[in-house]
Assembly symmetry: C2
Homo-oligomer: 437 residues x 2
Amino acid sequence: MNGLLTDLYELTMAAGYFEAGKTTERATFELAIRRLPPRRNFLLAAGLPQVVDYLLNLSFSSEEVAYLRGLPQFSNASAAFFDYLCHFRFTGDLFAVAEGTPLFAGEPFLTLRAPIIEAQIPETYLLSAVTFPTLVAGKAARCVAAAGGRPVIEFGTRRAHTAEAGVLAARAAYLGGCAGTSNSLAGFRYGIPVKGTAAHSWVMSFSNETESFRQLQRVFGDNTTQLIDTYDTVEGARRVAQLGRPIQGVRIDSGDSLALSRQVRAVLDAAGLPDTEIMVTGDLDEYRIRDLVAAGAPVDSFGVGTQLATSGDAPYLNATYKMVELNIGGINRFTTKLSEDKISLPGSKQVFRDSERDVLARSGECGRGEALLRPVLLGGRLIEPLPTLEDARCRAAESLARLPQPLRELEVAEPWPMVQSPELRALIDRTRRNLTP
Amino acid sequence: MNGLLTDLYELTMAAGYFEAGKTTERATFELAIRRLPPRRNFLLAAGLPQVVDYLLNLSFSSEEVAYLRGLPQFSNASAAFFDYLCHFRFTGDLFAVAEGTPLFAGEPFLTLRAPIIEAQIPETYLLSAVTFPTLVAGKAARCVAAAGGRPVIEFGTRRAHTAEAGVLAARAAYLGGCAGTSNSLAGFRYGIPVKGTAAHSWVMSFSNETESFRQLQRVFGDNTTQLIDTYDTVEGARRVAQLGRPIQGVRIDSGDSLALSRQVRAVLDAAGLPDTEIMVTGDLDEYRIRDLVAAGAPVDSFGVGTQLATSGDAPYLNATYKMVELNIGGINRFTTKLSEDKISLPGSKQVFRDSERDVLARSGECGRGEALLRPVLLGGRLIEPLPTLEDARCRAAESLARLPQPLRELEVAEPWPMVQSPELRALIDRTRRNLTP
């Protein structure tokens, strides 16, 4: 009953295709990354389970159909169309790049092949379902790279665009290499390690800071991480040190984290607490993490919130969902869009990746290296269980490790090489030449 | 069963408060806007229905409680705590600024007063539920102002951080003054006018552009808006003109929209179609709309997608949720946070707004003008139905019309004046003086 979770024009187009007698035409649509965000060298494919779940459940309730029937846009649509919607199911094929795969500009991420109406309606949902986690996963990988081995925890649900988006951000961040999340539901639903320390309100709820520390440790034992910046960070560290018990960690959430982490480390070391770890949170991103690491800040782990859960540097992705092929009565027609700055390439495609480059080819070509687009749904059915989140996380780590080092750095590097196969080039030329709009 | 939709530390803090015997302490937490985004002069309060819905339904399923019980963080928590969670309900009070009210830096948006655990757990959800729509509603108001009376339609679900976030973005955009949305579910659920034109895939699915135009008009009649930029925009306009029938509109989605809108207007006028409207979409924001309007572009309506549904210029908001008061055994203690750059002000507050300024006062004071924070839930129950979305939209339009003109412009203006009442200042001084952390 998620049929209305799309742009109205997908549904008016559906009515149009239906009334124009196009229900048997099979279309191939491609969801592709048009451009990388300005400061990114790669993205990490994510969001496939949400896509599959959507397609497997795509349907219209009678209330939804009644709503559409009452809209002026559908005043010319036939009763047969609404009946069609009542029985609507996705019966097509989905090909997709596996979660955790690095993606670059110009590359397809998903291919849908289905009767044209079934391929049209999912456009809006599919774009929103994959672009957001793909951005977050790539961002997480950058933060993790910057941290040079220190764990990075995703802490951003409170800034996410709805708390549910926070759950998916947590999943994507873990896929991209984060060690855990603060989001409890992400832990419950996906088995992601969940982390949490203490809140300022805890500290403030006691008559003095030392008492709040003592009580927290009484409840949580030696696994406690104390939040020490509510009033004065260094003073807070001294109060922790005076508790006279080993303690797992302290968290600094404000101020000059380089200077404070050094002062706090000194206080803890002087008190014989060399194993008490320092976590830094508060307005972090990959660049601030890199700077702290480069300066030798004695920080043991990082909590990144806002920037991860909103993909703060790049809160949206230039991705497209375009028809590339249409089969009418057994005859294939290749389709292309020539709009200024928004050209799309005709034909169903495949990406072959080897250790040196990607080749963008026609689907069905036999290329060198790994074929990235693999069948996921055939005839509307899942052909095998999707890889687990842990699988995807491993795939991300292993794939990133194989990329040239400059691409894994934070600065913009030479793009990963991508060439078009001769067959694809020929198809593009032929399609443009034959196009008589 | 949304209890886990929060950060783990809210739940570890809950366990801590429980085990520390604090279940009867009543806390007051304040959700406040710390700073406005760099280019914004105001925000528009939005998201209150989601907050109310969350608080009215906040609970833990037995599976959720079992999950928590298995986490190492809760190894010291008592069986009584988990039993408490199983029966958890929000029984507190919620005070809130009405949706559609302009908000400025330093102002409270919500106040929660409840037993400390009940006030702590909602932090994460509440922040994510109000900051995102509040940003979008403010952004929409800017776009609408820039459009100078031409309708602005929200088109951005495909770029939203999940399609569900797109529904809420559509709602917020409508609240902020947009004339409608492309999101069908937002129309179904909230009664927002839904709009849609045609897709590039429609055009490409026919053997030539003219045939696609003719077929669209056959299905949708004279209400059709044709998408004319698939191959060549001006050529597309000529083909529309040659159809020989009146047509509601054309849409331009790429290229130089100023030059193209003029050329298209000329083609339509020459063909005797002066009433055919021109809609422009594609990478618009308030600045591009302003520039088009200032240049006298013959554009009749604007569709704004990405920038609205992600609040692209400001994808996150610096807002806080801090304990300001704690009542222990009938005695009030005022709490404050002194963290560098992240200070919070003690005491439950009220904002009085008149035509000249806001006064930030202590709650219970009798001030001049409108008291913005009004009771919404008392004892965990909704005291009256929330204002409708249409009410909120009217409130936004009327409130914005009363603001000084520079604040409604796109450039950064002198902030709306806000002063602290003498009573509040005295409380701040007294609290800081008496603070012995």
